[in-house]
């Protein structure tokens, strides 16, 4: 069980949206983690500077939230290590082929009503739900 957190989640979502708007306003870029990260996988893209800076900020933020507010950010990963590696590889291949993930397609693309992003988001949401159903209810979990 995880606690239902509508207000915290809404506020967090609002911050994600704010970051997406700011990245477009200042850098003219879609705030999609797949696209940003792909430019940092060798061979590096020429504009790796802002990408690396965004990534450093994103990684530092949770620690700063914990230190400044004292709010212990809940984290629980129920997946065994071998499956984390398999799942990680699968996610990497999938988001590269599909040109985006939850942030790029699900937030930025959907907000622009891009048909490609709408199809992508509906597809990965459906397959995620199906995968969770199979793992938890058909084969009884890891």
């Amino acid at each position: 069980m995880t606690e239902f957190t509508p207000w915290l989640s809404l506020a967090g979502g609002g911050l994600i949206g704010l970051a997406a708007v700011l990245l477009m306003a200042f850098h003219g870029r879609i705030a999609g983690m797949t696209g940003i990260l792909s430019g940092l996988v060798p061979p590096f893209s020429n504009d790796w500077g802002w990408r690396a800076a965004f990534l450093v900020g994103a990684i530092a933020a949770p620690a700063l939230v914990v230190i400044s507010s004292g709010y212990a950010i809940p984290f629980e990963s129920p997946t065994p290590a071998p499956w984390l590696i398999v799942g990680g590889l699968v996610v990497g291949v999938g988001v590269y082929l599909g040109s985006g993930c939850t942030s790029g397609h699900g937030v930025c693309g959907m907000a622009r009503l891009s048909p490609r992003s709408i199809v992508a988001t509906l597809t990965f949401m459906a397959f995620t739900a199906l995968t969770v159903f199979i793992i938890r209810h058909l084969i009884g979990g890891f």
Binding site: M24, G92, F127
Partner: protein, 147 residues
């Protein structure tokens, strides 16, 4: 320098949003998709909040001629639905369902200091590199055949 500091600050906002919303917590993400078990609808609020702010914000921002630090807005222009888009998204969904980590959730999760997030991000980065290598190899072969 201003460009780099700006990206750093925006990354901080993004990471804070992910951390507070629960997107960096795989158990919470998996529970959102577990409608017939321990369902936690929180992530619908994350998506809702992010979409409302982005949709309204983009309306104002994209009315301008150019972003502050660039000559133009880098907006995807393709509108066709092709096989890589659908198949890639399906593959991503399978991996998200196995782990509860998506790229935007996993990167900020690195900052929480849990080994699981690092393991996932390492594998995911390798996946991106492999997929790109495969696509380039196929493209090179196709161009050799065509020549």
């Amino acid at each position: 320098m201003a460009r780099i500091l700006s990206a750093l600050a925006i990354g901080l906002v993004f990471g804070a949003g992910i951390a507070l919303s629960g997107m960096a917590n795989p158990a919470k993400v998996l529970n959102f998709f577990d409608f017939f078990g321990t369902w936690d609808p929180s992530l619908a609020f994350v998506m809702g909040g992010a979409l409302i702010v982005t949709a309204i914000g983009y309306l104002f921002v994209l009315r301008r001629n150019a972003p502050v630090f660039d000559r133009l807005f880098h907006l995807p222009t393709r509108r066709d639905i092709d096989m890589p888009l659908v198949a890639g998204s399906a593959i991503f969904g399978i991996g998200w369902g196995i782990t509860g980590f998506c790229p935007g959730g996993a990167i900020p999760a690195l900052g929480l200091g849990h080994g699981d997030a690092w393991l996932f991000v390492g594998a995911m980065t390798a996946g991106i590199a492999l997929a790109r290598l495969a696509r380039q190899t196929l493209a090179t072969r196709a161009s050799i055949r065509a020549a």
